[in-house]
Amino acid sequence: MEYVIEMLNIRKEFPGIVANDNITVQLKKGEIHALLGENGAGKSTLMNVLFGLYQPEAGEIRVNGEKVKITNPNVANNLGIGMVHQHFMLVEPFTVTQNIILGSEPKGKFGSVNIKEAEKEIREISDRYGLKVDPSAKIRDISVGMQQRVEILKTLYRGAEVLIFDEPTAVLTPQEINELMDIMRSLVKEGKSIILITHKLKEIMEVCDRCTVIRKGKGIGTVVVKDTNPDELASLMVGREVNFKTDKKPAEPKEVVLHIEDLFVQDVRKIDLVKGLNLDVRAGEIVGIAGVDGNGQSELIEAITGLRKSRSGKIMLNDKNITNLSPRNVTKSGLGHIPQDRHKYGLVLDYPIGANMVLQTYYQKPFSKVSVLNYKEIYKKAKELIEEYDVRTPSEYTPARALSGGNQQKAIIGREIDRSPDLLIAAQPTRGLDVGAIEFIHKKLIEERDKGKAILLVSFELDEIMNVSDRIAVMFDGKIVANLTPTETNEQELGLLMAGSTINGAGDSNDIK
């Protein structure tokens, strides 16, 4: 059998943990090979070993049957291995072209870089694979999906034959995911081989040929995708049965908790991104906001939470006008917020995870009295939350930075729910999490709803929106363009609405203006 890449019995240790314990993965030429495992199972580590960022303690790597030592990314590049990282490796102030040629620049006059030449070549590659990237745009000005294509272009520009994708779809919208799938198919058609890391079983079923499962650092085995099904994959990975369809009772909506009227919000460039938005969320219901990234969702959340000033309009929380109040006052009025960007907003990574558990409440009793902190109470609370929300951490004194993404997310969710806010805004609460963790978080959200709290869920995952919401508000171009009931709609209809086409009869199902 012909393998382009063989990773045999790889072992990689970090201080105090064996991230990869005797794992074997073999990649056939021209296949898309999935790598599946819980958060922290060791997938990224394994791929970083292949890409030369880490050196394994044991095991061997073969490329086209030949044993190799990949000591750094340069070696990997030369062996035709390219990687699209989980966290993009792009220099924000640089242009697309600069990012792509970085490290292997075409030379021009007087030792300068021949940017024109490079742009031409990039345009060619872009066209060949249907990537539609503007070579002269700045990274910071383009969407996340575009940035990912730049990452792909980077590997292709270097002549990669094997592409590693580390959770490429976690940050993409459904449209973008579909486009990525097409791109991957065309890559394989051109003779490339792909390793794909993803938590989304649907994607594995859709594009992958085979799938290697990792659990807690150990290789569980490799299965042929068309011989298996999502349930089997999930239980292989978690080691137990997983419930995909979230069980829930019908909602019993009560009084309006959040009322938004004719809201306008600008972004940093002073352009209106929320344009006259109206929305109500009631106690005891989960309202899901569906929409393509960039239609004003972030600005809407920031306006409600007080992180951004709104230009005009009114936001009422529990009949209290909270428009343009400070975040502290909004929080006090009964808001909880699971932020979309957990590293930027959700946590002080250098604080112990325990100290992070009181990020909004440190100034209140019993965590402090007359401005003096009471660590005993703080860490008592932290310990409780860590247990209740199954945050896996060595101790409550461990810096938040040291936790895996999934566990960081669980900590944030625990903290926000525990304050028992009347309105909980959950933005992309399960991004990048494994199915087990997703299941857990969905359960928690529904529990809150059942306690009579109002929940506003913002997500790019249509599955999540359909599964968890009691009501779906489709957001397009800064406005709510449709109100739907999950049971009465389907992904197709949602997709169309999100893309801006109108459907007769949409929006009459509920009392939203």
Binding site: F51, L53, N72, V91, E92, N99, L102, S104, G111, V113
Partner: protein, 317 residues
């Protein structure tokens, strides 16, 4: 008005030139992600070497002495900054701490050696300093000629040319692209096969070279000897110029020229009728107040290179 310009431009240029060199050094270092508050110390070393070499070899090299002196100071500055590079790149030292240590070390070594070699705390005056000249041809241009090309130190023009070269290197060459990438997102650079450590070493050495050059030019155009008070704050002013100029070579040059202009103005204005009666104290603090106002008023927010100050540890996240 032209008179005032004609008298102010040369002073701006000689005052600013050392700051320009040193600030450019700071730009290279910080663009690669290594904070360099050791610029002051690098200038001290440059001044020390420039003067000592000049004193020692004036007889050997004659008219070329000042030029050879600044070249030697440039080389020694680069070597000296290797300490900062080793500490902050390889040993992952806090870069600010290392910079502070560079400042103390440079002054300590400079004065210590002066005392050991000369038996006193300050050297004699050099016999071969730089002298200002009229630039041939250019100084004959009407109006502009007398203002910009008469009585000018060539080193001042070298400073401006070096600023443009620095701009070209940083913004037009592969080396510059890599260097800036390393300062913004070292891991991205690393995954593209760029040796982050090597780039940072080179950048810090360049900053040492330019700092040494700046210090020696200061000593050989303005002071003429070396003592503990030869360089007092010029390095910090250069650091301010780096930030003022938003980490851009031409910006840093502009900022340094601005400082020179403000200083000259405060001296010249005692002779300008309108400004004559302003109490001395206002003129004294004017350059510093002006800088703050300029920053607050229209220069505004500037973002440092993203990875500035963060040691790169391979494989960390």
């Amino acid at each position: 008005m032209l008179d005032i310009l004609a008298s102010i431009v040369p002073t701006v240029l000689f005052f600013s030139a050392p700051l320009i060199f040193t600030a450019l050094g700071g730009v290279f270092s910080e663009r690669s992600g290594v904070i360099n508050i050791g610029l002051e110390g690098l200038m001290v070393i440059g001044a020390f070497v420039g003067i000592i070499f000049n004193l020692t070899f004036a007889d050997v090299f004659g008219n070329f002495t000042p030029w050879i002196s600044i070249i030697v100071a440039t080389i020694v500055g680069a070597l000296f900054s290797a300490i900062h590079a080793v500490a902050s790149v390889s040993f992952r030292a806090d870069q600010t701490v290392s910079g502070v240590a560079i400042n103390m070390l440079a002054l300590g070594v400079g004065v210590y050696l002066t005392k050991v070699w000369y038996g006193k705390g300050q050297t004699d005056m050099v016999a071969e300093p730089f002298n200002s000249t009229n630039i041939p041809i250019l100084s004959d241009i009407p109006i502009i000629g007398p203002i910009f090309f008469e009585g000018i130190y060539i080193t001042s023009y070298v400073a401006i040319i070096v600023a443009f070269i620095a701009w070209f290197v940083l913004y037009k060459t592969a080396f510059g692209l890599r260097l800036r990438a390393v300062g913004e997102h070292p891991m991205a650079a690393d995954t593209n096969g760029i040796n982050v450590y090597k780039m940072r070493y080179i950048a810090v050495l360049i900053s040492g070279a330019l700092g040494g050059l700046g210090g020696s030019v200061f000593a050989l155009t303005i002071v003429s000897n070396f003592s503990h008070s030869t360089i007092v704050g010029q390095g910090f002013m250069s650091l301010a110029a780096v930030i003022f100029g938003k980490w851009h070579p031409l910006g840093a040059m502009g900022a340094a020229l601005f400082f020179g202009f403000a200083q000259s103005l405060s001296v010249v204005s005692t002779g300008i009728p309108l400004l004559e009666d302003i109490p001395q104290i206002y003129l004294l603090i004017a350059p510093y107040v002006l800088t703050i106002l300029a920053l607050a008023g229209f220069i505004g927010r500037a973002d440092a290179p993203r990875a500035n100050g963060i040691p790169y540890v391979k494989g960390s996240r």
